[in-house]
């Protein structure tokens, strides 16, 4: 056992214990660590935004280099502050409209292409799927399972008709696929959370307490 003398490692270790103490019950140590984290994260974000974004990208070109074109984004950005003045608070709609307009234009075609068209293409059975059994997700077996899974799961979410007859059968199969999906998601969630716990124990037993290398 080789306990560290580094004060920063000690601070980090003690804060870890404060956070883990919540597992016993809510307590002031946990609250202190939680509030400290939120405060530090926000302070870091704000400082970094001012020094690495606003100053080099806006204030410096506009006020030091005299590039007057930057006055336009500066003015539009400043309109966000108008919401604090009741009489002219409606002006805040202008920067919001600019932001929404830009993002809508940028997001819609990209989302349709990447998330809808390509995903539908991925579920279509093509002759190449039937050429090999063992081709990963492109082999016959998995392609057919994927196809059945997508169709049956979609049919489960079709509520305009009562789930009877063929629709009843497909929607029941759909439920099985959904449950398998939930199971996989839960399993992965457990793995993720346990990984985070392992990471903290690696730190506590390693750099802090020196029990492991």
């Amino acid at each position: 056992m080789n306990i560290t003398h580094d004060p920063w490692v000690w601070i980090s270790g003690l804060l870890t214990i404060c956070i883990l103490s919540f597992l016993y019950r809510d307590n002031p140590f946990y609250k202190f660590a939680e509030h400290l984290f939120v405060g530090v994260a926000n302070g870091y974000f704000l400082t970094f935004t001012v020094h690495r974004v606003l100053i080099p990208n806006l204030f410096s070109p506009l006020f030091n280099e005299g590039r007057l074109f930057f006055i336009l984004p500066f003015m539009v950005g400043m309109l966000y502050v108008m919401r604090f003045i009741t009489r002219v608070s409606w002006l805040v709609r202008i920067p919001i409209a600019v932001t929404i307009g830009y993002y809508t234009g940028a997001v819609i075609p990209a989302t349709v292409q990447a998330d809808i068209i390509r995903q539908i293409q991925g579920t279509i059975l093509t002759p190449s799927n039937f050429q090999a059994w063992n081709a990963g997700s492109n082999g016959i077996l998995w392609s057919v399972i994927l196809f059945i899974g997508v169709v049956c799961t979609l049919s489960y979410f079709y509520f305009s008709r009562e789930h009877k007859g063929v629709l009843g059968v497909t929607s029941r199969i759909g439920i099985i696929f959904i449950m398998i999906g939930f199971g996989a998601a839960f399993g992965y969630t457990v793995m993720a959370r346990v990984s985070l716990l392992i990471g903290r124990f690696q730190f506590i037993l390693g750099p802090w307490l020196g029990i492991i290398e």
Partner: protein
């Protein structure tokens, strides 16, 4: 039966304690875990390995302290792979929180290589072998802007140097010079690279993601939108295995070291789930008996 009933009503704090021991013991008494490399990770490794000399590997470090144990080993393994193969690296972050963690990974791997280096040519040099572009908000600016010009989006790097003055960046103009972009993210950043950068500019995208988001990302691998995929600590351990066995690069493997704990924790969880369910049915049966 009373034992089962007692176990199924255990205080949650005892469950936490048992889980903590299950995680700690394999760390203190290490056991050898065989790492079997799965296809998604092998594909990512091959895609990085096949980057030609005139192209670079771009790594998007987008994990924060909450997901560090899963994600950092991925970043370190990727950097080791790139530096060992002399593939030039451009690192960046779409958010502000990961910047410090990205720098930590870059510094660690650079130091590992420079300690072994015997000459200037062998060393890993900033500006020649890798650059850290830093952070340029909002994310849509680098996602779309780098398709036209990387140095216009990131005029200055993380350290404040002009990017067009760095030797490596003189030959790197836009996504056409990127062999593959690997996004290491605890959120949805890899999907943004696919939706914006890949759809519009055709850049190849790989992803390293947390296990919790795996079921959300798998379909993009199945369609080929991701060239490869690393999932959670297990994925990181697989990449570490490939780096060690294929490149003969032996270094500390933090994700592989954790696999014993991961297995022990999973077995503990499975045991508790079984005990909980058996206990539920036993109690239900005994309650029915009382009603009769």
């Amino acid at each position: 039966m009373k034992v089962i009933e007692y176990l199924s009503q255990l205080d949650r704090r005892i469950v936490y304690l048992v889980l903590a021991f299950a995680v700690m013991l394999p760390l203190i008494i290490p056991s050898v875990q065989r790492v079997r490399v799965m296809t998604p990770v092998a594909k990512l490794f091959n895609a990085v390995d096949a980057i030609p000399d005139d192209r670079i590997l771009m790594i998007d470090f987008d994990y924060d302290p909450q997901t560090l144990p899963e994600m950092e080993p991925m970043g370190i393994a990727l950097l080791r792979h790139a530096f060992q193969k002399r593939i030039r690296v451009a690192a960046l972050s779409l958010y502000v929180q990961p910047l410090g963690l990205a720098k930590r990974a870059l510094d660690q791997v650079t130091e590992e290589f420079n300690q072994r280096a015997t000459s200037y040519a062998d060393s890993v040099i900033y500006g020649r072998d890798y650059v850290f572009l830093g952070w340029q908000p909002p994310p849509i600016v680098p996602l779309l802007g780098m398709g036209i010009s990387i140095t216009s989006v990131y005029t200055r790097d993380y350290y404040g140097y002009r990017t067009d003055s760095l030797p490596m960046m003189r030959r790197v103009r836009n996504f056409n010079d990127v062999g593959i972009l690997v996004s290491l993210s605890g959120a949805t950043a890899p999907l943004w690279w696919v939706a914006y950068s890949q759809t519009r500019f055709g850049v190849a995208v790989g992803a390293g993601i947390t296990a919790v988001s795996a079921s959300e990302f798998y379909q993009y691998y199945q369609t080929g939108q991701f060239s490869g995929l690393m999932i959670g600590m297990k994925g990181a351990a697989e990449y570490e295995e490939l780096v060690e066995t294929k490149l003969m690069l032996v270094d500390r493997r933090k994700a592989s070291e954790a696999l014993g704990s991961l297995t022990a924790a999973h077995l503990t969880m499975i045991a508790f789930i079984i005990i909980g369910n058996v206990g539920y049915f036993v109690r239900r049966r005994s309650r029915k008996g009382v009603v009769k």
